[in-house]
Amino acid sequence: MRIAIGYATGLLFGLGLVISGLSDPAKVLNFLDPFGSWDPSLAFVMAGAVLATAIGFSAARGRRAPLFAPAFDWPARTDIEPRLVAGAALFGLGWGLGGFCPGPALTALPLAEPGTLAFVPAMLAGILLARLLPPAR
């Protein structure tokens, strides 16, 4: 059941990326370019996604446990530390260079564009490289 839910939510998420246009790096880069060929579509993606997520999360808050797992795994940290800000800044630099973040890049993988095939292994390497840093407190 957990595997079926994983697959179904992944497919739904991926279809959302495709239909919204977030899977197209050109659209992402144009959203990030308000002084050039600005395409505000991504603001609508974010609004729709945050709205639906917030409704689902508030329903989850009213329950003792998820349907198919023993407990909710809500993120617990609340501190703003240098790693959070530095990591987000490096992430933003990469996002602005390529127009890809992890979800769209993986969704685009079967389309096998050379740029995607270069991006995804490098992204995995980047995640592994981060483990060489001293562990976060």
């Binding site: 998420f13 990030l32 639906a52 127009g99």
Partner: protein, 141 residues
């Protein structure tokens, strides 16, 4: 230029949010793609099954889209391979160090009004926009 698509983008956003909502209600997990990928890289622990299935579902989406609509997914990816390698390294490293990406911080975290995620999202959107500004309007690439 890309076409402004407010209706399709809102609809797609709602689907993304519905997926995140179902994952939380059913399995109690945050739909953060970088976290899901990171926890599948060795040493993989508990939860490998649903995480692999989620990524498989993501990758099925463009195929399902083509089968249902008969249209290929519209996409323009840079063919500058050294640039894409650098971008991939930064996205992977940055999301691992910053504990999240567009989905975990930008969607799930913002929906929870998490201060950490609001800060992270503001930082990565600003830096990404500044990067595009420099690349397109300063360097003229």
């Amino acid at each position: 230029m890309t076409e402004f698509t407010p209706i399709a983008s809102t609809l797609g956003g709602l689907l993304i949010g519905a997926a995140a909502a179902i994952l939380m209600l059913a399995l109690g997990r945050i739909a953060g793609i970088s976290g899901i990928v990171s926890r599948l890289l060795p040493p993989a622990g508990e939860g490998t099954g649903w995480r692999s299935a989620f990524l498989l579902g993501l990758m099925t989406a463009p195929v399902a889209w083509f089968v249902v609509t008969g249209r290929a997914v519209e996409q323009t990816v840079s063919g500058n391979l050294p640039l894409m390698v650098a971008a991939g390294l930064l996205v992977g490293f940055g999301s691992a160090v910053g504990s999240g990406c567009t989905s975990g911080h930008g969607v799930c975290g913002v929906a929870r009004l998490s201060t950490r995620s609001l800060v992270a999202t503001a930082v990565f959107v600003s830096v990404a926009a500044a990067t595009v500004f420099v690349v397109r309007h300063v360097l003229g690439a």
